[in-house]
């Protein structure tokens, strides 16, 4: 038990040090490194997807397939919950 706590503390320390370093090294909030993608979406959304809302255009048009995937995640979760809570014939 002692050893386990020691290992846990050690590895958590290392992981958090690395993640904090990572957080410090990423570029500051609101100042993107590169914004070609953002600019493209701002420029072309209205023409290409015909929507005023850029966020919805990204979610349902440019990355619509991801949204289908996310909707499928929900579908999977529902199917899983219904499956797990079904009535089972006891042997």
């Amino acid at each position: 038990m002692e050893g386990r706590m020691l290992v846990a503390a050690g590895s958590l320390t290392i992981v958090s040090i690395f993640l904090i370093f990572g957080a410090l090294l990423i570029h500051p909030f609101g100042v993107p490194n590169a914004y070609k993608m953002d600019q493209y979406i701002i420029d072309h959304t209205q023409n290409e997807s015909g929507a005023n809302n850029g966020v919805t255009a990204v979610v349902f048009d440019y990355r619509g397939f991801d949204t289908l995937g996310e909707a499928t995640v929900l579908f999977t979760a529902v199917a899983g919950v219904i499956l797990v809570f079904r009535r089972v014939k006891k042997e």
């Binding site: 386990r4 290992v7 846990a8 050690g10 590895s11 958590l12 290392i14 992981v15 690395f18």
Partner: protein, 117 residues
């Protein structure tokens, strides 16, 4: 088509060909057949000779008991490698906490190996 199928499979040092395998199989079969032909002719079915010999102990009435159970198989091996197996068994606690701990531990190891050095 057949030529393509029967092509030799080259691994750099060794090779593998279904034809060679079939040939080897035939030779082994022949050797076994010859050896079997040279067996002791005094062997008779259904006599004293075919009876099970259990170090002088009487044979069980219930045939089921003759079957060595799975947990008793390789008893010697398990006994002699007990130190490994017991360590490994301790690793597999079956609790989600420990799984996460191992995962964190491995991330830390990866970080030390790939990140620091």
């Amino acid at each position: 088509m057949f030529e393509q199928l029967l092509k030799t499979f080259d691994t750099g040092n060794g090779y593998w060909n279904p034809l060679v395998w079939g040939f080897a199989f035939l030779i082994i079969f022949l050797i076994i057949y010859i050896l079997r032909g040279r067996g002791n002719p005094s062997y008779k079915r259904g006599t004293e000779q075919t009876k099970v010999f259990l170090s002088g102990n009487p044979e069980y009435e219930n045939k089921e008991l003759l079957h060595v159970k799975a947990s008793n198989l390789y008893w010697g091996w398990v006994e002699s490698t007990k130190w490994v197996i017991n360590t490994l068994k301790k690793m597999h606690t079956g609790r989600a906490n420990d799984y996460i701990l191992w995962f964190t531990f491995m991330i830390a190891i990866f970080m030390l190996l790939l990140g620091v050095i």
